[in-house]
Protein backbone atom coordinates (compact mmCIF):
# COMPACT_ATOMS: atom_id res chain seq x y z
CA UNK A 1 0.00 0.00 0.00
CA UNK A 2 1.58 3.16 -1.19
CA UNK A 3 -1.02 5.63 0.02
CA UNK A 4 -1.01 6.59 3.69
CA UNK A 5 -4.49 8.06 3.29
CA UNK A 6 -6.93 6.77 0.68
CA UNK A 7 -10.43 8.21 0.42
CA UNK A 8 -13.14 7.11 -1.97
CA UNK A 9 -16.32 9.12 -2.49
CA UNK A 10 -15.90 10.44 1.03
CA UNK A 11 -18.59 12.79 2.29
CA UNK A 12 -19.66 14.18 5.63
CA UNK A 13 -23.03 15.75 6.26
CA UNK A 14 -23.98 17.83 9.30
CA UNK A 15 -27.75 17.97 9.49
CA UNK A 16 -28.45 19.38 6.02
CA UNK A 17 -25.09 20.87 5.17
CA UNK A 18 -22.35 18.89 3.48
CA UNK A 19 -19.00 19.79 5.04
CA UNK A 20 -17.19 17.53 2.60
CA UNK A 21 -18.48 16.05 -0.64
CA UNK A 22 -17.39 13.36 -3.00
CA UNK A 23 -13.79 13.42 -1.88
CA UNK A 24 -11.56 10.90 -3.60
CA UNK A 25 -7.86 11.21 -3.02
CA UNK A 26 -4.68 9.36 -2.21
CA UNK A 27 -1.95 10.84 -0.09
CA UNK A 28 1.41 9.17 -0.67
CA UNK A 29 3.45 7.66 2.14
CA UNK A 30 6.57 9.37 3.42
CA UNK A 31 5.67 12.85 2.28
CA UNK A 32 4.73 16.11 3.92
CA UNK A 33 1.33 16.90 2.51
CA UNK A 34 -0.28 20.28 2.84
CA UNK A 35 -4.04 20.55 2.86
CA UNK A 36 -4.87 24.02 1.67
CA UNK A 37 -8.10 25.88 1.34
CA UNK A 38 -10.06 28.83 2.62
CA UNK A 39 -11.79 28.80 5.99
CA UNK A 40 -14.82 26.58 5.98
CA UNK A 41 -13.65 24.55 3.00
CA UNK A 42 -13.82 21.27 4.91
CA UNK A 43 -10.17 20.86 5.89
CA UNK A 44 -10.89 20.16 9.53
CA UNK A 45 -13.67 17.75 8.55
CA UNK A 46 -11.34 15.82 6.27
CA UNK A 47 -8.62 15.63 8.92
CA UNK A 48 -11.08 14.61 11.64
CA UNK A 49 -12.31 11.87 9.34
CA UNK A 50 -8.72 10.77 8.79
CA UNK A 51 -8.05 10.42 12.53
CA UNK A 52 -11.46 8.94 13.28
CA UNK A 53 -12.82 11.72 15.46
CA UNK A 54 -15.61 11.83 12.88
CA UNK A 55 -16.97 8.98 10.83
CA UNK A 56 -18.06 9.47 7.23
CA UNK A 57 -21.66 9.87 6.11
CA UNK A 58 -20.84 8.29 2.75
CA UNK A 59 -17.74 6.78 1.20
CA UNK A 60 -14.72 5.23 2.81
CA UNK A 61 -11.41 6.38 4.16
CA UNK A 62 -8.41 4.22 4.95
CA UNK A 63 -5.44 5.47 6.91
CA UNK A 64 -2.26 3.41 7.22
CA UNK A 65 -4.23 0.50 5.80
CA UNK A 66 -7.06 0.54 8.34
CA UNK A 67 -10.27 2.23 9.29
CA UNK A 68 -9.48 5.31 11.41
CA UNK A 69 -9.77 4.83 15.19
CA UNK A 70 -11.14 1.32 14.72
CA UNK A 71 -8.81 -0.17 17.33
CA UNK A 72 -6.09 0.89 19.69
CA UNK A 73 -3.51 -0.55 17.27
CA UNK A 74 -4.92 1.68 14.55
CA UNK A 75 -4.96 4.68 16.89
CA UNK A 76 -1.31 4.07 17.72
CA UNK A 77 -0.37 4.51 14.06
CA UNK A 78 -1.75 8.02 13.74
CA UNK A 79 -0.71 11.08 15.71
CA UNK A 80 -2.97 14.09 15.80
CA UNK A 81 -2.39 17.70 16.72
CA UNK A 82 -5.91 19.08 16.77
CA UNK A 83 -7.01 22.58 15.89
CA UNK A 84 -6.24 25.11 18.64
CA UNK A 85 -3.94 22.43 20.12
CA UNK A 86 -6.12 21.39 23.07
CA UNK A 87 -4.35 20.38 26.28
CA UNK A 88 -5.58 19.83 29.82
CA UNK A 89 -5.25 23.24 31.43
CA UNK A 90 -5.03 21.78 34.94
CA UNK A 91 -2.31 19.26 34.16
CA UNK A 92 1.39 20.04 34.08
CA UNK A 93 3.66 19.34 31.15
CA UNK A 94 5.06 16.34 33.04
CA UNK A 95 1.49 15.08 33.54
CA UNK A 96 0.90 15.32 29.81
CA UNK A 97 4.01 13.30 29.14
CA UNK A 98 2.92 10.69 31.67
CA UNK A 99 -0.49 10.64 30.02
CA UNK A 100 1.18 9.92 26.70
CA UNK A 101 3.41 7.25 28.25
CA UNK A 102 0.43 5.50 29.86
CA UNK A 103 -1.79 5.60 26.82
CA UNK A 104 0.54 4.77 23.96
CA UNK A 105 2.42 1.50 23.41
CA UNK A 106 5.25 2.97 21.33
CA UNK A 107 5.76 6.10 23.42
CA UNK A 108 9.27 7.56 23.45
CA UNK A 109 9.54 9.23 26.85
CA UNK A 110 13.21 10.13 26.51
CA UNK A 111 12.62 11.93 23.23
CA UNK A 112 9.60 13.75 24.65
CA UNK A 113 11.63 14.98 27.64
CA UNK A 114 14.46 16.01 25.39
CA UNK A 115 12.11 18.00 23.21
CA UNK A 116 10.56 19.79 26.18
CA UNK A 117 14.02 20.61 27.55
CA UNK A 118 15.17 21.93 24.20
CA UNK A 119 12.14 24.23 24.14
CA UNK A 120 13.23 25.58 27.52
CA UNK A 121 9.96 24.63 29.21
CA UNK A 122 9.62 23.75 32.87
CA UNK A 123 7.93 20.37 33.20
CA UNK A 124 6.17 21.44 36.38
CA UNK A 125 4.34 24.21 34.57
CA UNK A 126 0.61 23.80 34.07
CA UNK A 127 -0.51 23.64 30.46
CA UNK A 128 -3.10 26.34 31.13
CA UNK A 129 -0.29 28.81 31.85
CA UNK A 130 1.57 28.21 28.58
CA UNK A 131 1.54 30.65 25.70
CA UNK A 132 -0.16 29.63 22.47
CA UNK A 133 3.16 28.78 20.89
CA UNK A 134 4.31 26.73 23.86
CA UNK A 135 1.02 24.87 23.98
CA UNK A 136 1.31 24.07 20.29
CA UNK A 137 4.82 22.77 20.91
CA UNK A 138 3.54 20.61 23.75
CA UNK A 139 0.82 19.19 21.51
CA UNK A 140 3.40 18.53 18.80
CA UNK A 141 5.67 16.83 21.32
CA UNK A 142 2.81 14.55 22.35
CA UNK A 143 2.06 13.76 18.71
CA UNK A 144 5.69 12.96 17.87
CA UNK A 145 6.56 11.00 21.02
CA UNK A 146 3.76 8.62 20.15
CA UNK A 147 5.97 7.64 17.19
CA UNK A 148 3.14 7.38 14.70
CA UNK A 149 3.36 6.38 11.06
CA UNK A 150 1.31 9.41 10.12
CA UNK A 151 1.15 12.71 11.95
CA UNK A 152 -1.91 14.83 11.24
CA UNK A 153 -1.87 18.50 12.18
CA UNK A 154 -4.95 20.69 11.89
CA UNK A 155 -4.08 24.38 11.47
CA UNK A 156 -1.22 24.00 13.93
CA UNK A 157 0.22 27.45 13.39
CA UNK A 158 -2.95 29.45 12.73
CA UNK A 159 -2.99 31.19 16.08
CA UNK A 160 0.75 31.66 16.47
CA UNK A 161 2.82 34.77 15.92
CA UNK A 162 5.33 34.67 13.04
CA UNK A 163 8.26 33.72 15.25
CA UNK A 164 6.43 30.92 17.04
CA UNK A 165 5.14 29.81 13.66
CA UNK A 166 8.63 29.48 12.25
CA UNK A 167 9.90 27.68 15.35
CA UNK A 168 7.01 25.26 15.26
CA UNK A 169 7.50 24.37 11.61
CA UNK A 170 11.22 24.05 12.15
CA UNK A 171 10.74 21.58 14.99
CA UNK A 172 8.26 19.69 12.86
CA UNK A 173 10.63 19.49 9.91
CA UNK A 174 13.55 18.33 12.04
CA UNK A 175 11.36 15.62 13.50
CA UNK A 176 10.17 14.51 10.08
CA UNK A 177 13.75 14.25 8.91
CA UNK A 178 14.67 12.14 11.95
CA UNK A 179 11.66 9.90 12.20
CA UNK A 180 10.73 9.32 8.58
CA UNK A 181 7.04 9.74 9.17
CA UNK A 182 4.31 10.92 6.84
CA UNK A 183 2.80 14.26 7.70
CA UNK A 184 -0.55 15.71 6.73
CA UNK A 185 -1.08 19.27 7.81
CA UNK A 186 -3.66 21.85 6.97
CA UNK A 187 -3.46 25.60 6.83
CA UNK A 188 -5.22 28.46 5.20
CA UNK A 189 -1.90 30.29 5.09
CA UNK A 190 -0.17 28.93 2.01
CA UNK A 191 3.16 30.56 2.69
CA UNK A 192 3.51 28.40 5.81
CA UNK A 193 3.02 25.27 3.82
CA UNK A 194 5.18 26.30 0.90
CA UNK A 195 8.26 26.00 3.08
CA UNK A 196 7.52 22.54 4.38
CA UNK A 197 5.29 20.63 1.97
CA UNK A 198 6.24 18.48 -0.97
CA UNK A 199 2.69 17.40 -1.74
CA UNK A 200 -0.43 19.53 -1.73
CA UNK A 201 -4.19 19.05 -1.74
CA UNK A 202 -6.36 22.07 -2.52
CA UNK A 203 -9.77 21.90 -0.95
CA UNK A 204 -12.32 24.56 -1.90
CA UNK A 205 -15.99 24.66 -1.09
CA UNK A 206 -15.97 21.17 0.45
CA UNK A 207 -14.46 19.55 -2.65
CA UNK A 208 -10.93 18.60 -3.66
CA UNK A 209 -9.90 20.87 -6.53
CA UNK A 210 -6.41 19.63 -7.21
CA UNK A 211 -3.89 17.37 -5.57
CA UNK A 212 -0.33 16.44 -6.43
CA UNK A 213 3.34 16.84 -5.73
CA UNK A 214 4.23 20.47 -5.34
CA UNK A 215 6.96 20.32 -7.99
CA UNK A 216 4.59 18.73 -10.42
CA UNK A 217 1.81 21.19 -9.65
CA UNK A 218 4.14 24.10 -10.24
CA UNK A 219 5.40 22.58 -13.49
CA UNK A 220 1.93 22.04 -14.92
CA UNK A 221 0.36 25.37 -14.02
CA UNK A 222 1.08 28.56 -15.89
CA UNK A 223 -0.10 32.10 -15.87
CA UNK A 224 -0.76 33.28 -19.44
CA UNK A 225 -1.34 36.88 -20.31
CA UNK A 226 -1.83 38.45 -23.69
CA UNK A 227 -4.43 40.03 -25.97
CA UNK A 228 -7.99 39.39 -25.01
CA UNK A 229 -9.36 36.07 -26.16
CA UNK A 230 -12.15 33.70 -25.44
CA UNK A 231 -11.43 30.67 -23.21
CA UNK A 232 -12.95 28.42 -25.89
CA UNK A 233 -10.12 29.32 -28.25
CA UNK A 234 -7.52 27.80 -25.94
CA UNK A 235 -6.08 24.38 -26.85
CA UNK A 236 -8.10 21.46 -25.55
CA UNK A 237 -5.36 20.28 -23.21
CA UNK A 238 -5.25 23.60 -21.39
CA UNK A 239 -7.65 23.48 -18.52
CA UNK A 240 -8.63 26.97 -17.31
CA UNK A 241 -8.31 27.33 -13.56
CA UNK A 242 -8.84 31.05 -13.34
CA UNK A 243 -9.47 33.83 -15.79
CA UNK A 244 -9.54 37.58 -15.73
CA UNK A 245 -10.26 39.91 -18.62
CA UNK A 246 -9.98 43.59 -19.28
CA UNK A 247 -11.15 45.21 -22.52
CA UNK A 248 -7.95 44.35 -24.29
CA UNK A 249 -6.19 41.79 -22.21
CA UNK A 250 -6.85 38.34 -20.88
CA UNK A 251 -5.03 36.60 -18.05
CA UNK A 252 -5.48 32.90 -17.49
CA UNK A 253 -4.15 30.39 -15.06
CA UNK A 254 -4.19 27.08 -16.88
CA UNK A 255 -3.24 23.54 -16.05
CA UNK A 256 -1.61 21.59 -18.85
CA UNK A 257 0.66 18.61 -19.17
CA UNK A 258 2.26 19.93 -22.31
CA UNK A 259 4.19 23.10 -22.87
CA UNK A 260 2.53 26.36 -23.79
CA UNK A 261 3.66 27.10 -27.32
CA UNK A 262 1.43 29.97 -28.39
CA UNK A 263 3.79 32.93 -28.93
CA UNK A 264 1.07 35.52 -28.32
CA UNK A 265 1.05 34.62 -24.63
CA UNK A 266 3.60 35.80 -22.19
CA UNK A 267 3.96 32.86 -19.81
CA UNK A 268 5.02 33.24 -16.19
CA UNK A 269 5.51 30.47 -13.64
CA UNK A 270 3.32 30.35 -10.56
CA UNK A 271 4.26 30.06 -6.92
CA UNK A 272 2.28 27.65 -4.77
CA UNK A 273 0.43 30.53 -3.15
CA UNK A 274 -0.66 31.97 -6.52
CA UNK A 275 -1.70 28.54 -7.64
CA UNK A 276 -3.84 27.94 -4.58
CA UNK A 277 -5.34 31.42 -4.83
CA UNK A 278 -6.22 30.75 -8.46
CA UNK A 279 -8.13 27.62 -7.42
CA UNK A 280 -9.84 29.42 -4.57
CA UNK A 281 -10.93 32.38 -6.67
CA UNK A 282 -11.61 30.33 -9.75
CA UNK A 283 -14.40 28.60 -7.95
CA UNK A 284 -15.96 31.74 -6.53
CA UNK A 285 -19.24 32.50 -8.29
CA UNK A 286 -18.71 36.19 -8.98
CA UNK A 287 -15.33 37.82 -8.77
CA UNK A 288 -15.51 41.56 -8.22
CA UNK A 289 -13.11 42.47 -10.99
CA UNK A 290 -15.08 40.41 -13.47
CA UNK A 291 -15.46 42.55 -16.59
CA UNK A 292 -18.60 40.80 -17.76
CA UNK A 293 -20.48 42.55 -15.04
CA UNK A 294 -19.20 45.90 -16.12
CA UNK A 295 -19.98 45.75 -19.83
CA UNK A 296 -23.68 45.41 -19.25
CA UNK A 297 -25.08 48.83 -20.23
Amino acid sequence: MNAVVAAHGLGKQYRRRWALRDCTLEIPTGRVTGLVGPNGAGKTTLLNLAVGILSPTVGTIEVCGGRPAASSAQLAKVGFVAQDTPTYAGLTIADHLRLGAHLNPRWDQAAARRRIDRLGLDQRQKAGRLSGGQRAQLALTLGLAKRPELLVLDEPVASLDPLARREFLQVLMEAVAEEEISVLLSSHVVSDLERVCDHAVVLVDSQVRVAGDVDRLLATHHRLSGPRRDPDSLPADQHVVWASHTDRQSTYVVRTESRVLDPSWSTTPLGLEDLVLAYMEGSAPAVQSSPELEVIP
Binding site: N48, G52, L54, A69, L75, Q83, Y88, L99, L103, A139
Partner: protein, 344 residues
Protein backbone atom coordinates in the same frame (compact mmCIF):
# COMPACT_ATOMS: atom_id res chain seq x y z
CA UNK B 1 -5.90 5.14 31.35
CA UNK B 2 -6.34 4.36 35.03
CA UNK B 3 -3.54 6.76 35.84
CA UNK B 4 -5.17 9.56 33.80
CA UNK B 5 -8.56 8.91 35.36
CA UNK B 6 -7.03 9.02 38.82
CA UNK B 7 -5.10 12.20 37.94
CA UNK B 8 -8.27 13.89 36.69
CA UNK B 9 -10.49 12.85 39.57
CA UNK B 10 -8.20 12.84 42.56
CA UNK B 11 -9.46 16.24 43.75
CA UNK B 12 -13.10 15.13 43.68
CA UNK B 13 -12.10 11.80 45.13
CA UNK B 14 -10.29 13.32 48.10
CA UNK B 15 -13.08 15.85 48.66
CA UNK B 16 -15.84 13.25 48.64
CA UNK B 17 -14.04 10.74 50.84
CA UNK B 18 -12.82 13.50 53.17
CA UNK B 19 -16.39 14.65 53.76
CA UNK B 20 -17.62 11.10 54.20
CA UNK B 21 -14.86 10.40 56.73
CA UNK B 22 -15.64 13.57 58.68
CA UNK B 23 -19.33 12.67 58.77
CA UNK B 24 -18.53 9.15 59.94
CA UNK B 25 -16.37 10.45 62.77
CA UNK B 26 -19.16 12.70 64.00
CA UNK B 27 -21.71 9.88 63.82
CA UNK B 28 -19.35 7.44 65.53
CA UNK B 29 -18.84 9.85 68.39
CA UNK B 30 -22.53 10.45 69.05
CA UNK B 31 -24.01 7.09 68.00
CA UNK B 32 -23.26 4.89 71.04
CA UNK B 33 -24.62 7.48 73.46
CA UNK B 34 -27.81 7.67 71.43
CA UNK B 35 -28.23 3.90 71.46
CA UNK B 36 -27.86 3.83 75.26
CA UNK B 37 -30.36 6.64 75.55
CA UNK B 38 -32.86 4.75 73.41
CA UNK B 39 -32.36 1.55 75.36
CA UNK B 40 -33.03 3.12 78.75
CA UNK B 41 -35.88 5.49 77.98
CA UNK B 42 -39.39 4.79 76.86
CA UNK B 43 -39.93 8.18 75.34
CA UNK B 44 -36.55 8.69 73.85
CA UNK B 45 -37.83 11.58 71.75
CA UNK B 46 -38.22 13.73 74.82
CA UNK B 47 -34.63 13.28 75.96
CA UNK B 48 -32.96 13.78 72.59
CA UNK B 49 -30.51 16.65 72.51
CA UNK B 50 -30.64 19.37 69.88
CA UNK B 51 -27.48 17.90 68.40
CA UNK B 52 -29.17 14.51 68.00
CA UNK B 53 -32.14 16.00 66.18
CA UNK B 54 -29.85 18.06 64.01
CA UNK B 55 -27.92 14.93 63.08
CA UNK B 56 -31.11 12.96 62.45
CA UNK B 57 -32.54 15.54 60.10
CA UNK B 58 -29.09 16.46 58.79
CA UNK B 59 -28.48 12.83 57.90
CA UNK B 60 -31.68 12.80 55.90
CA UNK B 61 -30.77 16.06 54.21
CA UNK B 62 -27.22 14.96 53.39
CA UNK B 63 -28.33 11.68 51.85
CA UNK B 64 -31.09 13.45 49.96
CA UNK B 65 -28.67 15.93 48.44
CA UNK B 66 -25.54 13.81 48.01
CA UNK B 67 -26.59 11.82 44.92
CA UNK B 68 -27.87 14.94 43.20
CA UNK B 69 -24.64 16.78 43.96
CA UNK B 70 -22.63 13.84 42.68
CA UNK B 71 -24.70 13.70 39.50
CA UNK B 72 -24.32 17.40 38.90
CA UNK B 73 -20.72 18.00 39.80
CA UNK B 74 -19.19 14.65 38.94
CA UNK B 75 -21.43 13.11 36.28
CA UNK B 76 -22.41 16.05 34.10
CA UNK B 77 -18.87 17.39 33.47
CA UNK B 78 -17.38 13.88 33.14
CA UNK B 79 -17.50 13.98 29.35
CA UNK B 80 -19.08 17.39 28.74
CA UNK B 81 -15.99 19.20 30.07
CA UNK B 82 -13.80 17.31 27.58
CA UNK B 83 -16.17 18.14 24.75
CA UNK B 84 -16.33 21.76 25.82
CA UNK B 85 -12.61 22.38 26.13
CA UNK B 86 -11.73 20.28 23.09
CA UNK B 87 -9.48 17.93 25.05
CA UNK B 88 -11.49 14.97 23.72
CA UNK B 89 -9.60 15.53 20.47
CA UNK B 90 -6.36 15.06 22.39
CA UNK B 91 -7.34 12.08 24.48
CA UNK B 92 -9.35 10.22 21.85
CA UNK B 93 -6.27 10.14 19.68
CA UNK B 94 -4.07 8.39 22.17
CA UNK B 95 -3.87 4.64 21.59
CA UNK B 96 -7.04 3.96 23.57
CA UNK B 97 -10.42 3.60 21.90
CA UNK B 98 -13.04 5.99 23.14
CA UNK B 99 -15.20 3.12 24.30
CA UNK B 100 -12.46 1.95 26.62
CA UNK B 101 -11.73 5.51 27.67
CA UNK B 102 -15.35 5.97 28.73
CA UNK B 103 -15.45 2.54 30.36
CA UNK B 104 -12.49 3.28 32.61
CA UNK B 105 -13.73 6.76 33.48
CA UNK B 106 -17.22 5.50 34.28
CA UNK B 107 -16.01 2.39 36.05
CA UNK B 108 -13.73 4.35 38.34
CA UNK B 109 -16.37 7.00 39.03
CA UNK B 110 -19.18 4.52 39.68
CA UNK B 111 -17.00 2.53 42.04
CA UNK B 112 -15.79 5.58 43.95
CA UNK B 113 -19.26 7.09 44.23
CA UNK B 114 -20.91 3.80 45.21
CA UNK B 115 -18.34 3.13 47.93
CA UNK B 116 -18.54 6.66 49.32
CA UNK B 117 -22.33 6.66 49.47
CA UNK B 118 -22.43 3.10 50.81
CA UNK B 119 -20.19 4.10 53.71
CA UNK B 120 -22.28 7.18 54.38
CA UNK B 121 -25.64 5.45 54.24
CA UNK B 122 -24.42 2.57 56.40
CA UNK B 123 -23.18 5.01 59.01
CA UNK B 124 -26.36 7.06 59.01
CA UNK B 125 -28.66 4.03 58.99
CA UNK B 126 -26.74 2.55 61.92
CA UNK B 127 -26.79 5.84 63.77
CA UNK B 128 -30.49 6.56 63.25
CA UNK B 129 -31.67 2.99 63.79
CA UNK B 130 -32.55 3.36 67.50
CA UNK B 131 -34.63 6.47 66.99
CA UNK B 132 -36.22 6.00 63.56
CA UNK B 133 -39.92 6.68 63.94
CA UNK B 134 -39.90 7.33 67.67
CA UNK B 135 -42.90 9.21 68.99
CA UNK B 136 -42.77 11.78 71.70
CA UNK B 137 -44.77 11.40 74.88
CA UNK B 138 -46.58 14.70 74.38
CA UNK B 139 -46.11 15.93 70.85
CA UNK B 140 -43.70 15.60 68.00
CA UNK B 141 -41.99 12.56 66.54
CA UNK B 142 -39.25 11.53 64.18
CA UNK B 143 -40.22 10.08 60.82
CA UNK B 144 -40.29 6.33 60.36
CA UNK B 145 -37.77 4.86 57.94
CA UNK B 146 -40.69 3.59 55.83
CA UNK B 147 -42.05 7.04 55.00
CA UNK B 148 -40.89 8.48 51.69
CA UNK B 149 -38.95 11.21 53.50
CA UNK B 150 -36.66 8.79 55.30
CA UNK B 151 -36.89 5.61 53.18
CA UNK B 152 -34.72 7.14 50.46
CA UNK B 153 -32.05 8.03 53.01
CA UNK B 154 -31.69 4.66 54.69
CA UNK B 155 -30.41 1.26 53.80
CA UNK B 156 -29.05 0.53 50.35
CA UNK B 157 -31.10 2.73 48.01
CA UNK B 158 -28.88 5.85 48.27
CA UNK B 159 -26.14 3.86 46.51
CA UNK B 160 -28.55 3.24 43.64
CA UNK B 161 -29.52 6.90 43.52
CA UNK B 162 -25.91 8.06 43.45
CA UNK B 163 -24.93 5.67 40.66
CA UNK B 164 -28.06 6.63 38.74
CA UNK B 165 -27.39 10.35 39.16
CA UNK B 166 -23.79 9.90 38.04
CA UNK B 167 -24.71 8.02 34.87
CA UNK B 168 -27.62 10.34 34.18
CA UNK B 169 -25.25 13.31 34.41
CA UNK B 170 -22.77 11.59 32.10
CA UNK B 171 -25.35 10.86 29.43
CA UNK B 172 -26.91 14.32 29.63
CA UNK B 173 -23.42 15.84 29.40
CA UNK B 174 -22.69 13.71 26.35
CA UNK B 175 -25.87 14.80 24.61
CA UNK B 176 -25.86 18.46 25.64
CA UNK B 177 -22.07 18.82 25.28
CA UNK B 178 -21.93 21.76 27.72
CA UNK B 179 -21.26 21.39 31.43
CA UNK B 180 -23.49 24.04 32.90
CA UNK B 181 -26.69 23.31 30.94
CA UNK B 182 -26.00 19.61 31.48
CA UNK B 183 -25.81 20.20 35.24
CA UNK B 184 -29.13 22.05 35.26
CA UNK B 185 -30.85 19.42 33.13
CA UNK B 186 -29.42 16.58 35.21
CA UNK B 187 -30.76 18.16 38.38
CA UNK B 188 -34.21 18.69 36.85
CA UNK B 189 -34.48 15.09 35.61
CA UNK B 190 -33.10 13.66 38.84
CA UNK B 191 -35.53 15.62 41.02
CA UNK B 192 -38.43 14.56 38.82
CA UNK B 193 -37.43 10.89 39.14
CA UNK B 194 -36.98 11.22 42.89
CA UNK B 195 -40.50 12.62 43.21
CA UNK B 196 -42.07 10.23 40.72
CA UNK B 197 -40.70 7.00 42.18
CA UNK B 198 -42.20 7.26 45.71
CA UNK B 199 -45.47 8.54 44.23
CA UNK B 200 -46.05 6.02 41.48
CA UNK B 201 -43.50 3.23 41.58
CA UNK B 202 -42.44 2.35 45.10
CA UNK B 203 -45.95 1.63 46.47
CA UNK B 204 -46.43 -1.07 43.84
CA UNK B 205 -42.99 -2.65 43.61
CA UNK B 206 -44.13 -5.13 46.22
CA UNK B 207 -47.90 -5.67 46.59
CA UNK B 208 -49.05 -3.64 49.58
CA UNK B 209 -51.03 -5.11 52.44
CA UNK B 210 -54.70 -4.28 52.75
CA UNK B 211 -56.37 -4.55 56.09
CA UNK B 212 -59.98 -3.92 57.10
CA UNK B 213 -60.74 -3.03 60.66
CA UNK B 214 -63.55 -1.93 62.85
CA UNK B 215 -63.29 1.70 63.81
CA UNK B 216 -62.87 1.88 67.55
CA UNK B 217 -61.13 3.83 70.19
CA UNK B 218 -58.25 1.39 69.90
CA UNK B 219 -57.67 1.80 66.17
CA UNK B 220 -58.71 5.42 65.74
CA UNK B 221 -55.98 7.76 64.59
CA UNK B 222 -57.97 10.91 63.95
CA UNK B 223 -61.21 12.44 62.77
CA UNK B 224 -60.78 15.22 60.28
CA UNK B 225 -62.71 17.68 58.20
CA UNK B 226 -61.28 17.84 54.74
CA UNK B 227 -61.23 20.98 52.60
CA UNK B 228 -64.85 20.49 51.49
CA UNK B 229 -66.01 20.10 55.11
CA UNK B 230 -66.55 16.37 54.70
CA UNK B 231 -65.88 14.27 57.71
CA UNK B 232 -63.15 11.67 57.35
CA UNK B 233 -61.77 9.11 59.72
CA UNK B 234 -58.29 7.65 59.73
CA UNK B 235 -57.16 4.65 61.71
CA UNK B 236 -53.71 3.39 62.39
CA UNK B 237 -52.22 0.04 61.60
CA UNK B 238 -50.70 -2.36 64.05
CA UNK B 239 -47.14 -1.22 63.45
CA UNK B 240 -46.40 2.43 64.11
CA UNK B 241 -43.68 2.40 61.45
CA UNK B 242 -45.90 1.25 58.56
CA UNK B 243 -46.17 3.35 55.43
CA UNK B 244 -49.87 4.03 54.89
CA UNK B 245 -50.78 4.45 51.23
CA UNK B 246 -54.53 4.92 51.59
CA UNK B 247 -56.82 5.12 54.57
CA UNK B 248 -60.55 5.21 53.81
CA UNK B 249 -63.89 4.25 55.20
CA UNK B 250 -65.90 1.61 53.30
CA UNK B 251 -69.52 0.57 53.72
CA UNK B 252 -70.92 -2.93 54.12
CA UNK B 253 -70.45 -3.63 50.40
CA UNK B 254 -66.82 -2.70 50.51
CA UNK B 255 -67.28 0.54 48.54
CA UNK B 256 -65.70 3.78 49.62
CA UNK B 257 -68.27 5.66 51.58
CA UNK B 258 -68.77 8.95 53.36
CA UNK B 259 -69.25 8.93 57.09
CA UNK B 260 -73.02 8.98 57.77
CA UNK B 261 -74.34 12.36 58.81
CA UNK B 262 -75.63 11.18 62.21
CA UNK B 263 -72.01 10.70 63.21
CA UNK B 264 -71.55 14.43 63.43
CA UNK B 265 -73.86 14.44 66.40
CA UNK B 266 -71.38 12.29 68.28
CA UNK B 267 -68.74 14.94 68.16
CA UNK B 268 -68.28 17.84 70.47
CA UNK B 269 -68.05 21.19 68.67
CA UNK B 270 -64.79 22.73 69.63
CA UNK B 271 -64.01 26.25 68.39
CA UNK B 272 -62.00 25.20 65.37
CA UNK B 273 -64.38 22.51 64.17
CA UNK B 274 -66.29 24.72 61.78
CA UNK B 275 -63.10 25.52 59.96
CA UNK B 276 -62.43 23.33 56.98
CA UNK B 277 -59.43 21.15 57.42
CA UNK B 278 -59.57 21.41 61.18
CA UNK B 279 -58.78 18.37 63.30
CA UNK B 280 -60.86 17.39 66.20
CA UNK B 281 -59.02 15.95 69.07
CA UNK B 282 -60.61 12.79 70.35
CA UNK B 283 -61.15 13.47 73.97
CA UNK B 284 -63.96 14.22 76.40
CA UNK B 285 -67.19 12.38 75.62
CA UNK B 286 -65.48 9.04 75.35
CA UNK B 287 -68.48 6.97 76.37
CA UNK B 288 -70.80 8.40 73.77
CA UNK B 289 -68.09 8.16 71.10
CA UNK B 290 -67.69 4.45 71.85
CA UNK B 291 -71.44 4.00 71.23
CA UNK B 292 -71.12 5.84 67.96
CA UNK B 293 -68.23 3.58 66.90
CA UNK B 294 -70.34 0.54 67.78
CA UNK B 295 -73.21 1.87 65.66
CA UNK B 296 -70.81 2.47 62.74
CA UNK B 297 -69.63 -1.11 63.04
CA UNK B 298 -73.19 -2.41 63.21
CA UNK B 299 -74.10 -0.55 60.04
CA UNK B 300 -71.22 -2.31 58.32
CA UNK B 301 -68.73 0.50 58.14
CA UNK B 302 -65.15 -0.57 58.22
CA UNK B 303 -61.89 1.21 57.80
CA UNK B 304 -59.75 -0.06 54.94
CA UNK B 305 -56.05 0.69 55.16
CA UNK B 306 -53.64 -0.06 52.36
CA UNK B 307 -50.07 0.05 53.56
CA UNK B 308 -46.58 -1.25 53.23
CA UNK B 309 -45.80 -2.80 56.58
CA UNK B 310 -42.49 -2.04 58.16
CA UNK B 311 -41.44 -5.64 57.59
CA UNK B 312 -41.32 -4.87 53.85
CA UNK B 313 -38.54 -2.35 54.43
CA UNK B 314 -35.60 -4.42 53.22
CA UNK B 315 -37.51 -6.06 50.38
CA UNK B 316 -38.56 -2.62 49.18
CA UNK B 317 -35.01 -1.36 49.58
CA UNK B 318 -33.50 -4.12 47.46
CA UNK B 319 -36.26 -3.88 44.87
CA UNK B 320 -35.75 -0.17 44.48
CA UNK B 321 -31.97 -0.53 44.39
CA UNK B 322 -32.44 -3.09 41.61
CA UNK B 323 -34.67 -0.74 39.67
CA UNK B 324 -32.22 2.14 39.91
CA UNK B 325 -29.25 -0.03 39.01
CA UNK B 326 -31.13 -1.38 35.99
CA UNK B 327 -31.92 2.19 34.92
CA UNK B 328 -28.25 3.07 35.47
CA UNK B 329 -27.20 0.17 33.28
CA UNK B 330 -29.49 1.44 30.54
CA UNK B 331 -28.04 4.94 30.85
CA UNK B 332 -24.51 3.56 30.63
CA UNK B 333 -25.39 1.55 27.54
CA UNK B 334 -26.89 4.66 25.93
CA UNK B 335 -23.73 6.62 26.78
CA UNK B 336 -21.55 4.03 25.04
CA UNK B 337 -23.85 4.02 22.01
CA UNK B 338 -23.82 7.78 21.90
CA UNK B 339 -20.07 8.19 22.18
CA UNK B 340 -19.52 5.66 19.38
CA UNK B 341 -22.26 6.65 16.97
CA UNK B 342 -23.51 10.14 17.58
CA UNK B 343 -20.30 11.92 18.46
CA UNK B 344 -18.73 11.31 15.09
Amino acid sequence: MIWLTWRQFRTQFVAVFGLVAAGCVWLALTGPALARLAAHNKNVFDVLTGNDRLLFNGGIAVLAVAPAVIGIFWGAPLVARELETGTYRLVWNQSVTRGRWLAVKLGFSVLAVAIAVAILTTAITWWAHPIDGVKGGQRGSLVSHMTPVAFAMRGVVPVGYAVFALLLGTLVGLVVRRSVPAMALTLAIYVFVQVAVPLWVRPHVIPPTTSSMVISDRTLDGINFDASKRLTITTHTAGPGDWVLSNRTVDAHGHAAAIPTWFRGCLPTPPGAAEPGGTIGVSPARGSLDDCFARLADEGYRQQVVYQPESHFWRLQWAELGLYLAASGLLAWLSFRWIRLRLS
